[in-house]
């Protein structure tokens, strides 16, 4: 087992660099260290100016997504031991503007998330005094998977369509739209369909499936997009056949 491993990290400081470059740090190798631990070792001991985001270190807050040897990963759940003997290359996620070093600008996603109306929409809301909406375990299971998205952005970084066409609403936002569409308490599918079947909605996805491959929470955004396309297509066919109303 090696005692150290080389970490090659993308650096970009807009105040002084015209383009990104790489810097290599020799960090201790420990078998239970994740890539994030190695980055923290650099920041604490070697170079306090290295910038990256992190928080929970248990794979649920979604802060620490980066590319490790070219693949989008949560660095708090990616072990050094899987990359021996190194060097291990750490870069910011693709297709987002880089703010600094490993920190990318995700405001585009946050804006798109709001567009898909990820909240319960009902014609009439029940008061809390009337108790809960009943939902059987089977009904819960139909959308549960799509509710597991931690907004880590790995799927956007893996999506070639988003890379080519930044207006594409993207895997996570569509999966979350579908999460609400499939929820037995929700009646907003029609409203969301309008947004998603527009130009930058679901039609651009060519079902590459990279989003599902990199998802650390097994959300399967590609599956959500396919479901959605089918619903939208059916809706469209029905509207041709039954022009006086389909709902």
């Amino acid at each position: 087992m090696p005692s150290t491993v080389a970490l090659t990290v993308a650096r970009y400081r807009p105040e002084r660099d015209s383009e990104p470059s790489f810097e290599t740090y020799e960090v201790p190798y420990r078998k239970d260290w994740v890539v994030l631990d190695a980055l923290n070792h650099v920041k604490d001991n070697l170079d306090g100016s290295l910038s990256f985001r992190w928080s929970c270190r248990m794979g649920v807050c979604g802060s620490c997504g980066m590319k490790v040897n070219g693949t989008p990963k949560l660095t708090c759940a990616t072990f050094l031991s899987d990359y021996l003997p190194g060097p291990i290359r750490v870069e910011p996620l693709d297709y987002f503007p880089v703010i600094r070093d490993l920190v990318v600008d995700i405001t585009d996603f946050v804006r798109k998330l709001k567009q898909v109306k990820p909240w319960i929409i009902r014609k009439e809301e029940k008061t809390t005094g009337a108790g809960e909406y009943l939902q059987t375990p089977d009904q819960l299971d139909t959308y549960k998977q799509f509710s597991m998205c931690i907004n880590c952005m790995l799927c956007y970084s893996a999506c070639p369509i988003y890379g080519l066409e930044p207006s594409f609403i993207g895997p996570a936002a569509i999966a979350l739209a579908q999460r609400y569409n499939m929820d037995s308490r929700d009646e907003g599918a029609g409203e969301r369909l309008k947004i998603l079947s527009e130009h930058d909605g679901i039609w651009q996805c060519t079902f590459v499936g990279e989003c599902t491959k990199v998802c650390p929470k097994h959300v399967d955004p590609a599956g959500a997009i396919q479901q959605y396309k089918l619903t939208a297509a059916t809706h469209w066919v029905k509207s041709l056949l039954l022009p006086w109303g389909t709902r």
Binding site: C61, S63, A77, T128
Partner: protein, 580 residues
């Protein structure tokens, strides 16, 4: 300087902050409410909560039972009027979350399911598998998106509260992306910044939990209440400190020492039965279970690994089906981070710093003694948690008191006029301080990581599960010297763009204030109660210490401790009895 204004300003985008913002938007839709967070709201530490949220909903349960479990669990240091309000409003808050789409786990007939939890006589914990905090936070965050009146400042770091004329009127922030310093004025400010577990070396808490709001309030003159009460959760994974939820024991998991013996039976927590029994054995309260671990270690009956002593949590007998249905995250975390499958192997666990019962002193409406300043959630101390918080009360607390603080702050804001003209000058001074002390400073000798490691060591040695006068005095002295050394800090990073070394330095200074408040409050509480155990004063002393400690920041920066009364309504102090 860029000056922004709003009516109600919420600092912190976790569960309490988002619930407060929604409360403002719903009750006072004409007010402009802003949420400032140093991380995107969905990154907030609420996301890590696993087990569930307590609220009475089943016919066999009652509000009085919930109140009694909470008050006895808190070793009678809870304010009982606050607890009564809490248990009364809890069910409605939980139903509201249900209506907003929280994917609560269900009974076969579609009703919300509940599970048992530690220190609880009747099962009342609502859960969304074992990712309850995650679902609760995302439900709240996504729900806030429908209110256009809620404005967000994502990745803005608060460095100071603006107080003038005895009233809190806003904050100074650094925008992380640009390094730009701004003043944001408001008619009321609500601090929902969470706890400060990161003061300790071994904790379940996320990197962002540095007690920012506690220190901000403390520096603005509000006292920190009951800071000596630090909750150790009995089951953390060694090295990472990742939490293994209490739900693992509630579903039937056992704690075993190195001989495979359910050692809790030796500590007046009941007799072992194959199925879990409420308020007994593994379902005793967290403080007692963590203390039992130390006793067991002293007897030489724990196991020893590369990261210190540990015991085993055994859930193998539950079987893969129950584990995957009820506590899938436990399996996911063990597989990922320990390389073991709990379906087949026992989980190594040890006590880990988890939660601060103490926090910013507030009344039952979330108001602090500083006019216009409110607090809710782990950052605050109302107190419903007393000397030991009951598992699954904290998620409920952020909803009930987040809403209460939001309502109260909105009502206050609606009656206020504009901001004092002097605020701009204050904000300029703060900008000057940040430049001089950190960004433009040259020649300092101290490194953040070194000071932080020393703080960690001091806290573990002096303010751990068992404490004494000698170690606490030593700890207080050492922390004072660390504060002095902090003045000589040197940064590698002088950039204005996303400078995380600057924020780490500011967080360290917040933690040092919090650490001093914890140690001084622990030093002066010469009794043992709940999570605060003094080997030199092993008994509870209601005559002297049925009182809340209040740490004020003195002129020289050191804490000064005063005491305030505990409100007792219907449950006079009694003995905490578990397992019989």
């Amino acid at each position: 300087m860029d000056l922004h204004t709003c009516d109600v300003l919420v600092v912190g985008g976790g569960g309490a902050g988002l619930r407060a913002a929604i409360a403002v938007a719903e009750t006072h839709p004409t007010l402009r409410v802003a949420v400032i967070s140093k991380v995107y709201p969905m990154r907030s530490h609420t996301v890590s909560a696993e087990g569930g949220a307590a609220a009475v909903i089943k016919a066999a349960d009652s509000l009085d039972e919930h109140a009694y479990d909470t008050i006895s669990g808190g070793d009678w240091l809870c304010d009982q009027d606050a607890v009564e309000a809490f248990v009364r409003e809890a069910p409605e808050e939980m139903l509201r979350l249900e209506h907003w789409g929280c994917p609560w786990s269900r009974e076969p007939d579609g009703h919300v399911a509940v599970r048992p939890f530690g220190g609880m006589k009747i099962e009342r914990t609502w859960f969304a598998a074992d990712k309850t905090g995650f679902h609760l936070l995302h439900t709240l965050f996504q729900t806030t998106l429908k209110y256009d009146v809620i404005e967000r400042y994502d990745e803005f770091f608060v460095t100071k509260l603006l107080v003038d004329d005895g009233r809190c009127q806003g904050v100074v922030v650094v925008e992380l992306a640009t390094g730009q310093v701004r003043a944001i004025t408001a008619k009321a400010v609500i601090l929902c910044t969470g706890g400060c577990g990161k003061i300790f070396p071994f904790t379940t808490n996320a990197n962002i939990k540095n007690g920012d709001g506690m220190a901000l309030a403390y520096r603005a003159g509000a006292p920190l209440k009951d800071m000596e009460f630090v909750q150790y959760h009995p089951t953390g994974l060694p090295f990472t400190g990742i939490l293994i939820t209490e739900a693992a024991r509630a579903e039937g998991g056992w704690l075993l020492n190195k001989d495979g013996y359910r050692y809790l039976q030796d500590y007046d927590l009941g007799t072992p039965t194959p199925k879990p029994v409420l308020r007994s054995m593994e379902l005793g309260p967290r403080d007692r279970l963590s203390q039992c671990f130390v006793k067991e270690q002293e007897k030489g009956r724990t196991l020893e690994g590369p990261y210190g002593h540990y015991v085993h949590l055994d859930i193998r007998h539950l079987g893969a089906k129950v584990i995957d249905r009820k506590i899938p995250f436990v399996r996911e975390l063990c597989l990922k981070y320990v390389g073991i499958d709990p379906v087949k192997e026992m989980i190594p666990v040890r006590p880990v710093v988890h939660y601060m019962m103490g926090g910013i002193h507030t009344d039952i409406h979330g108001a602090t003694p500083v006019a216009g300043l409110y607090a809710a959630g782990e950052a605050a101390c109302v107190s419903i948690n007393g000397a030991n918080r009951l598992g699954s009360n904290s998620l409920t607390e952020i909803l009930v008191f987040g809403a209460r603080a939001g309502n109260a702050a909105a009502a206050f804001a609606a009656e206020q006029r504009g901001a004092s003209p002097s605020l701009v000058a204050q904000a300029h001074d703060e900008q000057g301080r940040l430049e001089a002390r950190f960004l433009r400073k040259t020649g300092g000798k101290e490194r953040i990581a070194v000071l932080r490691a020393e703080m960690h060591q001091i806290m573990e040695e002096s303010a751990g599960i068992y404490r004494t006068e000698t170690v606490l005095k030593e700890g207080a002295g050492k922390l004072k010297r660390l504060q002095e050394r902090f003045q000589d800090l040197s940064l590698d990073d002088h950039s204005y763009t996303f400078n995380t070394e600057l924020t780490s330095a500011l967080e360290l200074s917040y933690m040092l204030d919090g650490a001093q408040a914890i140690v001084q409050s622990a030093l002066e509480r010469r009794e043992s109660r709940g999570s605060h155990q003094r080997t030199d004063y092993p008994q509870r002393d209601d005559e002297r210490f049925l009182a809340h400690s209040l740490a004020y920041r003195a002129e020289d920066g050191s804490p000064r401790i005063e005491y305030g009364p505990v409100t007792v309504t219907r449950w006079p102090p009694g003995k905490r009895v578990y397992g019989r």
